[in-house]
């Protein structure tokens, strides 16, 4: 089967991987001179993309056509005949569209010292030996998203700003200030946030458009602590949003699929357009991060395979575990006023902001439609991409939102809530209060996949727990319902990729292991556990039995990276490398 992938970004390459594994012929059409897309533009992700792409680069079934785009297509007996600009035509049975996202260009704000985050990324690239003098730097979030012109949240700007802070602190130690509206982080990024806060990064819940730039710096004016503050910075980084690719419009004219009002592809079935045989992945769906782009890339191709073969066999299905989203809509509706408090201090529970923000807003909106008085007091609302529309609608429909600023807190006494601000104290009386802490039991004593697996550099697998377990739904990462089936197909794609993969596993000679545990600490996959063995020991004649811990390697989990062998002090762990 010939499958055409339009766009050679991370999501297109992920889709190609699954299809090549199942022995299909894949053609990738890329508009620019080399595959890579947006991920190639970020200095620290470039190498990640390269290693990902290198695995399939030399596959004989893969053709990459660079520097061209699709200008016309016709349907011949269920398959497509596609005309490329200046490159003749090719035949394809199925098409996957992964045209990606385009960064917003804030022309009216930009200057010499007011730069976009992509420009800043190029500036602090490891390759640049000499950096300009930066003593004070500001990050301004939500530029070009969450507004009238583009109401969606770009869902990645907060995360990549956090990474840029990390990369900045690795090289220089400037004074950093972050101006934010909501900190929309995911998973372990909340731990990173806490670390940076402790390291002195200043987070301010206010945004600004007053930039006064001169030769030596930029003056920013912002409102905080009930007063206007003017501050000077050496550089201002605008965290720009991601908009849909304008090329999607011409593609939709060529192929006939429909776009929604925001310029993204309308998804009728999970990862499928309304035209038979055309699938969609990555940034053509909605703004998403790299890991989700990989997930939908895997998903689009496995959805394509599922339509071709009529489902998957049980060996694949058995590996995939699913957990249903718990129903939390158990709030009585016969009361008059409701107060929702969305805030928690423990960073290990902050990853559930995304799930609870959406649930709270949904419930609040329902109550508001019944004519109740509803107020949501929030520390942080995580409503990425299309979630922002729900939030906007709730604001319009009469749910009152009160955003807690840095240092403010909510205290409750006798069905009255007090917010202690700098100047005065706000108080609300309510009949029923619903808070984050009420739902903490849902998440306690459970392991979620995302808990320690957010960084794509460490793990490329978006749904894999270990080689026998692939998670989707609530147990992967609690989030919006529309992701459920996308995650399922993504998991299928990952199982297909994982099957029959050649791996060299380490061998461990149990007699010589001293049980020091250094391999256990080194293993990034937690594949090594220490078990207590009874071990014969002879000291001067009589034999004793001693109980000693020794290392045990779980083969399901091990990926064969070799870190354990390299740290083992007594060379107990070894690799048998076959000679070629």
């Amino acid at each position: 089967m010939n499958i055409l992938i339009i766009g050679g970004g991370i999501s297109g390459i992920s889709a190609a991987k699954v299809l090549l594994k199942t022995h299909h012929k894949v053609t990738i059409v890329e508009k620019s001179e080399a595959p890579g897309g947006l991920m190639e533009k970020i200095a620290n992700c470039r190498i990640g993309f390269k290693t990902f792409y290198d695995e399939i680069r030399d596959d004989p079934n893969l053709t990459v056509i660079k520097g061209t785009c699709v200008i016309d297509a016709e349907r011949v007996n269920g398959s497509f005949k596609i005309h490329l600009e200046g490159q003749g035509h090719i035949d394809a049975d199925r098409i996957i569209i992964s045209s990606g996202l385009v960064p917003y260009d804030p022309k009216h704000l930009k200057g010499k010292r007011i730069i976009t985050s992509l420009e800043y990324d190029a500036m602090i690239d490891q390759k640049n030996v000499e950096l300009p003098e930066i003593n004070k730097i500001a990050f301004v979030l939500c530029v070009g998203s969450r507004g009238n012109e583009y109401p969606l949240c770009s869902s990645v700007c907060c995360s990549y700003s956090l990474r840029e802070i990390k990369w900045t602190l690795q090289r220089i130690k400037p004074e950093i200030t972050v101006f934010y509206n909501d900190l929309r982080f995911f998973g372990q990024e909340f731990y990173m946030e806490k670390v940076f806060r402790d390291a002195g990064v200043n987070f301010i819940r206010a945004n600004s458009r007053y930039f006064d730039e001169d030769e030596n710096g930029v003056t920013i004016r912002y409102y905080n602590d009930n007063r206007i503050i003017e501050d000077r910075f050496d550089y201002v980084v605008l965290s720009i949003g991601l908009h849909p690719n304008p090329e999607l419009k011409s593609l939709s004219e060529v192929f006939g699929f429909t776009l929604n009002e925001y310029g993204f592809i309308k998804e009728v079935e999970p990862l499928k357009t309304d035209i038979e045989g055309i699938y969609v992945s990555g940034g053509a769906l909605e703004p998403m991060n790299i890991k989700d782009a990989i997930l939908t890339g895997f998903g689009a191709s496995s959805k394509c395979l599922s339509d071709l073969n009529g489902g998957f066999d049980d060996t694949i299905e058995n590996k995939i575990s699913y957990e249903d989203t718990p129903d939390i809509d158990n709030i009585p509706v016969d009361l008059n006023s409701y107060l929702f408090y969305l805030g928690i201090d423990d960073p290990s529970f902050k990853m559930f902001y995304e799930f609870l923000s959406e649930s709270f807003i949904n419930i609040a909106q329902k109550l508001c439609e019944l004519g109740k008085n509803v107020c949501i007091v929030t520390q942080n609302l995580v409503m990425p991409s299309y979630g922002e529309l729900l939030y906007e609608n709730a604001r319009r429909k009469g749910v009152i939102f009160v955003h807690l600023e840095e240092g403010q807190s909510l205290k409750v006494e006798n069905s009255t809530a007090y917010i202690h601000g700098q100047k005065d104290v706000l108080s609300f009386s309510f009949d029923k209060m619903v808070s984050f802490n009420d739902y903490i039991e849902l998440f306690k004593n459970k392991e979620f996949l995302f808990q320690y697996r957010t960084e794509p550099q460490i793990r490329w697998n978006p749904t894999k727990w270990d080689r026998k377990h692939f998670f989707y739904g609530f147990c992967r990462y609690p989030r919006s319902e529309r992701w459920k089936m996308r995650e399922y197909f993504g998991a299928v794609g990952e199982v297909i990729l994982d099957m029959e993969e050649e791996r060299v596993y380490p061998t461990l000679s149990e007699e010589r292991c001293s049980g020091c545990g250094s391999c256990k600490d080194a293993c990034p996959q937690s594949a090594i556990e220490m078990i207590v063995h009874e071990k014969p020991l002879s000291v001067f004649g009589p034999n004793f039995e001693t109980r000693e811990p020794i290392a045990h390697i779980k083969e399901d989990v091990c990926v064969g990276c070799g870190l354990c062998a390299s740290v083992c002090p007594s060379d107990v762990i070894s690799y048998e490398v076959p000679f070629k």
Binding site: N181, S208, N373, R395, R396, F401, L426
Partner: protein
């Protein structure tokens, strides 16, 4: 609503009748204002803050929805110049000056000139200078505007008031 300490400002959940009226006076719907994100961009660009007065237009919006009262001496109500810089920079294009004008009207702190100007617009749909001048003569005399009168004669022509078509 309970009444306790002075420094604790109590709010009630529902929109007060007064605040509903203010939104109605602005000529827009409630949801055009409640879409506010709370980003405080408006405060950063506000021209009132050029006078080193700490004012936050977003605070007015939130007090509108939380049912809080706005004092007569609130800097924005007193000094807003209707420059619409907040609207221009607001991600949602919220027309805050319109709310502030409604506040001025309900709080009764409009000057005679403003009242006369609005009255003329209400009657004829446009400004009729003689009417404005006569109505607010005492105010203008008191505030010293009278010294500009010779200048006005350069472009004021006396005529009967024109009416806007369809009024």
């Amino acid at each position: 609503m309970q009444q306790t300490d002075n420094n604790i400002e109590h709010t009630i959940f529902n929109i007060e009748h007064l605040n509903k009226k203010i939104i109605g006076m602005s000529g827009y719907k409630r949801e055009d204002f409640s879409v506010c994100l709370g980003c405080k961009i408006c405060a950063s660009v506000c021209t009132v803050n050029d006078l080193s007065i700490d004012a936050n237009p977003q605070e007015l919006l939130s007090s509108l929805f939380l049912g809080r009262t706005v004092e007569k001496n609130h800097p924005l109500v007193l000094f807003c110049t209707n420059c619409y810089r907040c609207t221009h920079n607001c991600p949602w294009g919220i027309r805050i000056p319109e709310i502030i004008r409604a506040f001025r009207e309900t709080l009764g702190i409009e000057s005679q000139f403003e009242k006369a100007f609005k009255g003329a617009v209400k009657i004829w749909g446009r400004v009729y200078e003689p009417y404005v001048f006569l109505k607010s003569a005492t105010y203008m005399l008191k505030e010293g505007y009278i010294r500009y009168v010779p200048k006005w004669f350069e472009y004021i022509s006396f005529h009967l008031p024109y009416k806007i078509k369809g009024r």
